[in-house]
Symmetry: C2
Amino acid sequence: MFTPREEVGQRSETVRRANLSAIVRELHLRGPLSRSELVAWTGLTRSAIRSLVGDLVAGDFVVEEAALRLGTPGRPSPQVRLVADSVVVLALEIAVDSLAVAIVGLGGEVHWKERVDRPRAHSSLGDIVDDLCHLAKRARDQRPSYQTPIGVGVAVAGLVRPIDGVVAAGPNLGWIDVPLGAHLAAALDLGAPVEVANEADLGALAEFRRGAARGAEDVVYVHGEVGVGGGIIVGGRPLSGTNGFGGEIGHMPINPAGRPCRCGSTGCWETEIGEVALLARAGYPLDGGRMAVAALIADAAEGRPEAVEALRVTGRWLGVGLAGLVNVLNPRVIVLGGLFSRAFPYLIDDVNAEISALALVASRRVVSVAPASLGIDAPLLGAAELAFEPLLADPVAWLGPRTGAVPQLVVA
Amino acid sequence: MFTPREEVGQRSETVRRANLSAIVRELHLRGPLSRSELVAWTGLTRSAIRSLVGDLVAGDFVVEEAALRLGTPGRPSPQVRLVADSVVVLALEIAVDSLAVAIVGLGGEVHWKERVDRPRAHSSLGDIVDDLCHLAKRARDQRPSYQTPIGVGVAVAGLVRPIDGVVAAGPNLGWIDVPLGAHLAAALDLGAPVEVANEADLGALAEFRRGAARGAEDVVYVHGEVGVGGGIIVGGRPLSGTNGFGGEIGHMPINPAGRPCRCGSTGCWETEIGEVALLARAGYPLDGGRMAVAALIADAAEGRPEAVEALRVTGRWLGVGLAGLVNVLNPRVIVLGGLFSRAFPYLIDDVNAEISALALVASRRVVSVAPASLGIDAPLLGAAELAFEPLLADPVAWLGPRTGAVPQLVVA
DNA sequence: CAGGTTTGTGTTCCTCTCTTGCAAATGTCT
DNA sequence: AGACATTTGCAAGAGAGGAACACAAACCTG
């Protein structure tokens, strides 16, 4: 009769879930913490923390270790640390010119990582899935001691419909409405849920949680390769939009007098700051791909004027678009990833100059522009974070109901 | 020692707060609900709802009334209704060419409203505060039965620093770093907290909660008068940004070859879609203000070509900027307010055409553009919502601790 | 129009979870 | 070594929602 949009009531069951979630999440994001730090960060009492941590210890999620000597007075507080081997996820990435796989433990530790080049041609779903499965199998063979992953996260260079993992559009892969999530789930056959998302959105997530935007609540991540993707964090939450296509900043109209874009419209940001625009400005071969861009950046480092100037012009257009985003979103940090992080030193002055010229004082004063600190792996690590999300949101589902046993503290 | 960013743990005290908050919020937003509807919407059990509603009845927040006959089988469920007279807020607005005051009851009922014209000249803080206090006094004199407001919300045409209610910049008022909140609090002397916010942000809030964007989670509100302001809702939450200056869409760079903007930069959206641009295109006096715009719209209604064409060009530029916002934010609804809602019929086709041409299919398919349904009062009503927010977030603070009395159901 | 069905209420425990309070432990500082 | 600060462990307590039963009031059916 009624269709509740969201059940907002708090029940005792949800209280426990929220509190366990808070503890696991803090440990995942900050690393080992003492019990008293957990008390401070969650606002719960010592007794509650004791009981909850006890449950997590019983479920092999965390261990308690001897206290660190910090030189502070008072009884030392045991360190609570996640058991990174007991819970792992599989992270996959389908980038424009590479495939990557990683096994990541709870807490963010990367146990295994491998990246292979991929030709920039259109590829069939089957080939890509086969390659990824092959990489995943290698990873598991190399480290057989790991558990079955509790989830699989996939970063893909394309527009992804989050509800079913279908890639609605992947121009660099030649994909339209490709059911990547379902095929990967079947091919991997791990029994773990497979979550697919856009690579820039995941890059933003990774930089937000573990990279250059750590601690900021409002973040814009701009990922430039062939196309320009973006990921946005607003108030500490990824901006997804009505049907999950938010953050597509590459196709903001920026120059009404500009060039036609491969998306069909004209004057998109991508047409001014994408790889092709950069190469064209410097007079490099437009189909030179990553190597040509690398050469261009190397030439700029040696002071070759065409390269320097091309990067400066790109930086200006980058700044123009960012100024708009600064006004609209008032972010704390803008992270430049992909090609923009590799070319960062040659762009940043012009980017900042445009932001200063075009953005409102109040907003531009608080923003800083930084290169991606996770480098090429940002989307891959974001995919791992995506795969961990269900666990972080509800550890109870993996922990099982309370055992009833009195929690026992065993300090090693 | 530690500075918790946010206390994320759920304590028994916060559970009660959250549940009462959920009930009061649902009633505030949806109007009277039966108990069984509350059960469905909160996910709590009948027992819990009964107990919580009993407390609210005891605190004179709500009344329970005889059930409505809906023609559905089963025992009728009493209607729970907020007592709109027992809790009111004072809403104030400082618009470009008017001042307004309203007394609004919990649930959104407007008990009193008055709007007076204001010359478009720069005004001193003292004069504005005096005028507002005068209006507020009249309102309270006219309806002396009302309680003292539990809060005061102020919508102002300018950039507002939320933490202290200082208007950092109000170009139409000639204000720079004006401590509006503090002065109003002192002058009104109501003992109630005074919250100040940007008028477009509050317009967005009002349209989101009670207007054209009701039910949507992702909303863009564009408010056009002299300048162009914006308010953004992302995932059901107002986008505030790092220091509260988010949503300033009027100064997105839209046309690098455009005109200088009064903000100091060039080619801002405002320079293409603001009042002055519109009047200039039609050949009307640039300082004609609201009357000139009204005349222009009236002329367009009669088919005068200059007026129609000027509105169409404005609509196109409006569409260009909105296309960018559609790509970035993937909203469900775009609400056009202020001048754009009055000129809506003459703009909308060109707006939609530009969005179709420039925005990505996936995002533009789900978005609709609607005129503000609350008209000129949207920011004022948003100010009321702002003032209610502390109550909605924590009814316990106004209700007091549980009485211990057994909740008694008394159906009138 | 009687009886069945459905939906919802009132009431009484019950369970779950966090809180409180006290004593003990364990470090630093003087 | 003693004072002091901080944290832990444990046990009892309090607050809040949940479950189950009996009953009530509407609609629907034959």
